[in-house]
């Protein structure tokens, strides 16, 4: 069976967001304005290394902004979705919904 890329609903899914760890991050960041790294590690269950890797990937695509600062003497990293990231997440949700709707009964 040949795949028609113009009508294949799966072709519209953003692979950057679709990875499970990044999807967790994007979803968590979507419902807040920003969160620090400690909170994201706790809520997503990712390790610190995983979090760093995936956040950098999202930043490369312009989906998140990283703000590094200090809380007292301890470094603190705050991560937030950019406008582009929010739009991308909304588009991802629509794509997934369309893909699921196309599934055979």
């Amino acid at each position: 069976m040949s795949i028609n890329r113009d009508t294949d609903p799966l072709s519209g899914i953003d692979p950057v967001i679709h990875a499970p760890a990044r999807l967790k991050l994007m979803t968590q960041l979507y419902v807040v304005d920003s969160a620090d790294a400690t909170f994201l590690v706790n809520e997503t269950g990712l390790t610190w290394g995983n979090l760093a890797t995936h956040v950098r990937k999202l930043e490369e695509h312009g989906y998140v902004a990283i703000d590094k600062g200090f809380r007292g003497r301890k470094p603190r990293t705050v991560i937030s979705l950019t406008d582009r990231g929010r739009s991308a997440f909304q588009a991802y949700r629509s794509s997934m919904q369309a893909a699921l709707n196309h599934l055979p009964e």
Binding site: Y30, V32, T38, W48, L51, A52, P75, T77
Partner: protein, 213 residues
């Protein structure tokens, strides 16, 4: 994930970030004041006993803020909530402020009126008014924070006001009944708060050697 799922996640996120049990301790302290003020009022009067207890409330609040800053936040992390939640908190805060101002006026009127014999403070009118005030205030708090437990505290306080007033009215208590019942409710809320705080610390250990993101 649907809009409903996202809203549920937002609520869960907000509760995780804020519901550490410490605010329950502050509420318990405020309720305990209702128990202690009648006991002190014989010697100091209501104004005098309030003047002593308000600084205690302030110190408790400062201690709680410090514990949150030094113990809770390093474990939980921090979140800046979204605009919808901020709007809800702001509106509820304004409503609570207006409501408290109104309740204070009513309370002062009744306190002063009772002293000059203008207001009859016997009967259940006063406890009923306190019940309604507590119920509305805590319900607003529960709505703003999505923490249903606060509405339950409102019901407990409402029942306590009526029960205390009834005990006083029917001479079933040596005092006006408030110290005992408010004391019990304060203890319940305090224990719940401490239990939540302990659970929060247990489920969020201090991060070990976090990697810079």
């Amino acid at each position: 994930m649907s809009d409903r799922d996202l809203k549920a996640l937002e609520r869960r996120t907000f509760r995780t970030a804020t519901d550490d049990g410490l605010w329950d301790v502050l509420i318990a302290e405020a309720v305990a004041m209702f128990a202690v003020i009648p006991l002190l009022s014989d010697s100091l009067g209501y104004v005098g006993s309030s003047a002593i207890l308000l600084p205690v409330a302030l110190v408790t609040y400062l201690i709680i803020r410090s514990v949150r800053h030094h113990v809770v936040i390093p474990r939980l992390g921090t979140v800046r909530v979204g605009i919808d939640r901020r709007r809800r908190l702001r509106r509820s805060g304004v409503a609570l402020l207006l409501f408290n101002a109104f309740a204070s006026i009513i309370g002062l009127t009744m306190a002063l009126g009772g002293q000059i014999g203008w207001v009859d403070r016997s009967g259940l009118t006063y406890p009923f008014a306190v019940s309604i005030i507590g119920l509305i205030a805590f319900s607003l708090g529960a709505y703003a924070t999505s923490i249903p437990r606060y509405a339950l505290y409102g019901f407990l306080l409402a029942a306590t006001s009526l029960l205390g007033g009834w005990l006083w009215q029917d001479d079933l208590a040596g005092r006006d009944g408030y110290p005992v019942w408010y004391g019990i409710v304060a203890l319940i809320i305090f224990v719940v708060g401490i239990a939540r705080f302990a659970a929060s610390l247990r489920s969020h250990p201090l991060p070990q050697d976090p990697v810079t993101v």
